[in-house]
């Protein structure tokens, strides 16, 4: 599958990346080269093969349990600070590029 300049611009917008002219040219070349290589996956017949997004629901689990009971150990009580104390407000703001002490401040949102 060949990627076009228009597609690169579209994907960059989806990814919230503002690429420079030079970056877009290189990206076009690199993406096409990588996608060409990745195309070989189509040599494999995966008609009846289930997808695997995660290995952790396959290994290290108690097979005698069924369904969500297998992961009961990963859930906690639905109470405030049930797992640990929350970050204090001022600590959560410590790395903020711009704040008024209560909120994170950002430039205004304008419809494109």
């Amino acid at each position: 599958m060949k990627v076009t300049e228009k597609k690169v611009a579209y994907v960059a917008a989806l990814a919230n990346l503002e690429l420079t002219e030079g970056e877009r040219t290189r990206m076009l070349r690199d993406l096409n080269s990588i996608l060409d290589y990745v195309d070989r996956l189509n040599q494999l017949d995966t008609t009846d093969v289930p997808p695997m997004a995660q290995v952790s629901d396959r290994y290290g689990i108690d097979e005698s349990k069924v369904g969500s009971a297998r992961f009961a150990y990963a859930s906690r009580e639905d109470i405030l600070e049930g797992l640990r104390k929350s970050l204090p407000h001022e600590v959560a703001l410590q790395n903020a590029p711009d704040t008024d002490g209560t909120f994170f401040k950002v430039p205004k949102v304008i419809e494109r």
């Binding site: 990627v3 990346l17 990206m27 995966t46 290995v55 150990y73 640990r84 790395n95 590029p97 304008i110």
Partner: protein, 477 residues
């Protein structure tokens, strides 16, 4: 004190027996770093206050004659993708150039609870994306064994620090080979545990279904000690497994006679450097002499691992890196007129070329119209790769391979060809995709005195067996 042969137990007993103090040891390592790291570039940040505070704590226990914790006073380094409260953490990126985390990575907290002295944060490829540490936004790392060459990546700083005696042990992370490959390039031990064995809480995420934290050390025994310390269920990581942690150290000395080791032909084809082949075949021969039965196996889908990885990992990365937007932390581009301009400009200035490339590839693979052809397809091939290992492990207890097709390459050699760089991971990515554990242990050198690594892969949650095989080889070699 000979730093080169200083292991975890040696350092700890020296302090326990009052031959030295944790403070003196930390000072020795900081002096070594000051002297040698300008040529190597392993460290991004030193955490002297934190180190000396912990050292003082350990010294006070030793002074009272109390038993020191398992890693009491042992100087360690942490890859800069793991957050350390109050100590700047950048993930090797400018987008986090000024980020000071308000919390600690679980693995780091467990090391410190066991008495380890954190010397500083180690250099790495940006967001762990790379195989040479040349993608660090700050500076590259030079291989201590040959300064004109790469240390491997993405945990290049972690491997170099151990190899150059600038830490007794380090933590690295592995998503496509980033612990094992640099360990093999630098001549140290690198262990990637089973997925879910070690909590990922506090590891800045690259690909959530592939990321692992693990140790880089001088000896296999040290890797076993660190694993025992950091492994185990963590409620803060939903994917961390509820599987008991065995005493890996106690299991080390068990005999390997009778163990079946698989040799997969797909890992010994063309593209494997002849000197790497020679060293690895020599190591396998040694294991046979120790009584292991060598069994030919096949992992037929190996050639599809790299394309699978570069779809799955980049797709997950495009999602994980969406959080870096200049709003709550990290770099924010000045003078943006609107919110979306701020997002785009912050990310464009803050991310390096490789990161952008992977975000683009991942976004493309997940986008409407391409999801089935790329991401879904790759997930299905992932199942086939996992099945290859399940089949093989019915016949053998572990699989032995070269860690990397070549020894360390020269700095700059592969930077202009992303695909060539990706192919350096060919023997390591399969384990990440399958979630199985793997260890790289030094097994000789090339004619140019460059280290070669032997990789041992094991069943899920069977780190004990691969550690045992690695230890037996290390002791015999």
């Amino acid at each position: 004190m000979d730093l080169n042969s200083l292991t975890i137990d040696a350092a700890r007993s020296a302090i326990q027996e009052r031959k030295t103090t944790a403070t003196a040891l930390a000072e020795t390592f900081f002096a070594k770093i000051q002297k040698d790291d300008p040529q190597i570039g392993a460290y991004l940040m030193l955490s002297k206050d934190r180190a000396f505070t912990k050292a003082a704590e350990i010294d006070s226990l030793a002074a009272k004659g109390e038993q020191l914790p398992r890693l009491g006073g042992v100087p360690v380094g942490i890859k800069d993708v793991m957050v350390t409260r109050g100590v700047r953490t950048t993930a090797g990126s400018k987008i986090l150039g000024n980020y000071v985390p308000p919390y600690d990575c679980t693995a780091v907290a467990r090391l410190e609870a066991a008495g380890a002295v954190v010397l500083g944060k180690l250099n790495c490829d940006e967001f762990a994306m790379g195989s040479s540490t040349e993608n660090s936004a700050w500076h590259p790392v030079h291989n201590p064994r040959d300064l004109s060459r790469v240390p491997g990546g993405s945990s290049g700083g972690s491997a170099a620090a151990v190899a150059a005696d600038m830490a007794v042990a380090t933590l690295g992370s592995d998503t496509g080979g980033s612990i094992r490959q640099p360990a093999s390039f630098c001549g140290v031990v690198g262990l990637m545990p089973t997925y879910g064995r070690v909590s990922r809480y506090g590891l800045i995420a690259f690909a959530s279904s592939l990321d692992h934290i693990g140790p880089l050390t001088k000896t296999v025994r040290d890797a076993a000690i660190v694993l025992r310390t950091i492994a185990g269920r963590d409620p803060m990581d939903a994917t961390s497994a509820e599987v008991p942690v065995p005493d890996y150290v106690a299991e080390l000395e068990k005999p390997v006679r009778g163990l079946k080791l698989g040799v997969a032909k797909e890992y010994f084809g063309e593209g494997l450097d002849s000197e790497v082949r020679k060293s690895v075949e020599g190591a396998i021969q040694k294991l046979a002499e120790l009584g292991c039965e060598i069994v030919p196996v096949s992992l037929p889908h190996t050639e599809y691992a790299i394309p699978t990885y570069y779809i799955v990992a980049t797709a997950e990365a495009s999602s994980n890196l969406a959080r870096f937007d200049g709003v709550r932390y990290g770099y924010r581009a000045d003078d943006s007129r609107t919110l979306s301009e701020m997002y785009r400009r912050s990310r464009d200035h803050g991310f390096g070329a490789e990161v952008k490339r992977r975000i683009m590839l991942g976004t493309y693979a997940l986008s409407a119209g391409y999801y089935d052809a790329y991401y879904l397809k790759a997930q299905k091939v992932r199942t086939l790769l996992v099945r290859d290992f399940e089949e093989a492990f019915k016949k053998v207890d572990a699989i032995v391979t070269p860690t990397s097709p070549t020894a360390a390459f020269k700095l700059g050699e592969k930077v202009d060809d992303p695909l060539a760089m990706y192919l350096a991971d060919i023997f390591t990515v399969t384990a990440d995709l399958a979630g199985i554990p793997g260890i790289s242990v030094p097994c000789g050198q090339t004619k140019e005195h460059l280290p070669v690594g032997l990789q041992i892969l094991g069943r899920h949650f069977d780190e004990a067996t691969i550690l045992r095989v690695a230890h037996a080889y290390e002791q015999a070699a």
